[in-house]
């Protein structure tokens, strides 16, 4: 269970992993201290392991920098919930094993306690006593995510045939 951190629409990778910290890209724990800093300065210092990033439309638009979802994962975020995701960011999430869930986020408020059940495809809002369902991931992505990401998949299978 973790707490919801609310974000708006169009949270770009320049807000998640700002270019001014470009020199920290090979030092991810240090870069992670600035995660989402461009959108909310209070997030990085206060986020706890198991918390959720909850956003609106087109989360992660912009750059292909995988550092963006990677530092969200490093600070312990359980999943990113958004009404929609930008394509490259979404793919990156799956590849690094960070659940990116497309669902209606309007009814989730800042600070709500959430619980994610990937198998059943449901986000439980413990604060409000409500549930939000989401459709299962396409087979390829689900397989990659279940095996812990694309690196783990290729390490284990030495092939991309999925």
């Amino acid at each position: 269970m973790g707490k919801a951190w609310k974000f708006g629409d169009s949270i770009s990778t320049d807000l998640i992993a700002p270019g001014r910290y470009f020199h920290l890209r090979s030092n991810l724990p240090e870069l992670a201290k600035h995660v989402l800093e461009g959108a909310r300065a209070d997030f990085a210092p206060q986020v706890r392991s198991g918390d959720f990033v909850v956003a609106g439309e087109n989360f992660g638009l912009g750059s292909s920098r995988e550092h963006a979802p990677t530092i969200i994962k490093i600070v312990g975020v359980r999943a990113v919930l958004a009404k929609s995701f930008a394509r490259i960011f979404y793919r990156n999430c799956i590849n690094i094993g960070l659940p990116a869930i497309t669902c209606d986020t309007d009814k989730i408020d800042e600070g709500d306690e959430l619980e994610l059940d990937m198998e059943k495809g449901v986000v439980k809002n413990k604060t409000k006593g409500t549930e939000t369902t989401f459709p299962p991931l396409p087979a390829v992505m689900n397989r990659i995510l279940q095996e812990g990401g694309l690196v783990a998949y290729i390490k284990a299978h030495k092939t991309l045939e999925i």
Binding site: S12, R20, E57, G62, R65, R91, I96, V151, L160, I162
Partner: protein, 418 residues
């Protein structure tokens, strides 16, 4: 059976079976590349995968273009890490000074009908030659380099038909800004855009590359152009005519959507802070004082862009309150602009010219904005913090707007000085 779109045809050729949009398939990749912002992580992912060699090193390129030349020791170390891995594996290294990955790819590597994956969102620029170029993250590109394959969903296609003659002061940048303003920054997420029509036919490869480049700003996976006589001429000029091939969507291909644009009705457009789809006509902008004008990038750093700017700035001096930074997209562009006097014209007008590369656009060097500063840039993005400072404001426009703005010190309509 219905005909095929350009995307369906290219993907069919690369996966050994006939595909249609919506299918998820494994495809062979013709060209893979990374840049210095994403490359170090790509190499680390390859090491984690346990595959420390390239499937086809001669079709794999490491471009050092984002922090180029390096402004900090951490980035110098990243560069050394990439150079070292390239040396050990035979991967091609495009070192600092050679310029932007996508433009070098058009000049030297991309072929019509290729599938190209790059760890840079603007890899879709390759669509200007009819290559299915798409941006991915470091892990995906690590897999593509290591195995020569990637997985992808065959995209549905939006056909964008642009007809009519572009008015004075209006360029391909305005076509794509108009489209993004119309469909929004996620209007084409997961889709391929395919551009056609008389206006598109009349554009140079450089002009097409601006549109292909910014296709991702509407969320698209690829932005494609049918290879034609212009493509052949471009490739011939690059000494690569033999890779030209014709390729186009079938007459009866199924498009998810058709969008028509009348080029004759367009005017210079501006994307206002802090989103690319916040597009306004230049006549609606009002007075906006500008501290920095930046001409360059994978979007508008080509010779013809520099020519447009120079033709307006020739014989004039830039506004004393405005600095003008010009960054040619590639070494070849820089050399040609030197030889034909364009660089001289720009410098005589008071502009400064940097080494070719991504320049100020990625926020790490060569023109980072100060608090409260305003920039008019020809680059593809204006997100908050993009140019290294979250307390600055970025407006996007075509190269003629940039030049007119440079002279006036505020965002200006180029039609008044042309």
């Amino acid at each position: 059976m219905a005909g095929k779109t350009l995307s369906e045809k290219i993907i069919t050729e690369h996966c050994g079976k006939v595909v249609k949009s919506g299918e998820v398939v494994i495809v062979n990749v013709d060209l893979s590349y990374v840049q210095d912002g994403t490359g170090p992580l790509t190499v680390r992912r390859m090491k984690e995968m346990g595959i420390e060699k390239a499937h086809n090193p001669k079709k794999t390129v490491f471009f050092l273009d984002h922090a180029s030349p390096s402004p900090r020791m951490e980035l110098s170390n990243d560069h050394e890490f990439l150079r070292d891995f390239a040396r050990k594996t035979g991967i091609i290294l495009s070192d600092v000074g050679n310029g932007i990955s996508h433009h070098n790819s058009l000049e030297k590597y991309a072929c019509p009908g290729d599938i190209i994956v790059g760890a840079d969102s603007h890899t879709c620029t390759n669509g200007a030659l009819g290559a299915f170029g798409t941006g991915m993250g470091s892990t995906d590109v690590a897999a593509a380099i290591a195995l020569g394959k990637t997985w992808m969903k065959v995209p549905e296609t939006f056909l964008v038909e642009v007809n009519g003659r572009l008015p004075k002061g209006v360029y391909s940048k305005d076509i794509i800004l108009h489209l993004i303003g119309k469909i929004s920054s996620n209007g084409a997420t997961y889709k391929a855009l395919e551009f056609t029509g008389s206006t598109i036919d009349s554009l140079t490869t450089a002009g097409r590359s601006t549109i292909a480049n910014m296709s991702v700003e509407a969320g698209a996976k690829a932005g494609l152009f049918r290879p034609d006589g212009e493509t052949r001429n471009f490739l011939k000029a690059m000494g690569r005519e033999e890779v030209f091939r014709e390729l186009k969507s079938d007459e009866d291909a199924v498009f998810e959507k058709r969008i028509e644009i009348n080029a004759g009705e367009l005017e210079p457009l501006i994307a206002c802070p802090h989103l690319v789809d916040n597009v306004k006509k230049i006549s609606e902008i009002g007075q906006v004082k500008v501290d920095e004008v930046f001409i360059g990038t994978s979007c508008n750093g080509r010779l013809e862009d520099l020519h447009i700017a120079a033709s307006i700035m020739k014989g004039h001096i830039i506004h004393p309150g405005t600095r003008v930074i010009v960054t040619p997209a590639s070494r070849l562009v820089y050399l040609e602009a030197l030889k034909d006097g364009t660089i001289e014209t720009l410098m005589e007008a008071g502009a400064l010219v940097t080494a070719s590369g991504c320049g100020a656009c990625d926020g790490v060097h060569l023109g980072v904005l100060g608090d409260g500063e305003v920039c008019l840039a020809t680059q593809p993005r204006n997100f908050k913090g993009r140019m290294g400072n979250p307390n600055s404001f970025i407006y996007l426009g075509n190269p003629a707007v940039a030049a007119a703005t440079a002279l006036a010190g505020e965002i200006s309509d180029p039609r008044e000085v042309m």
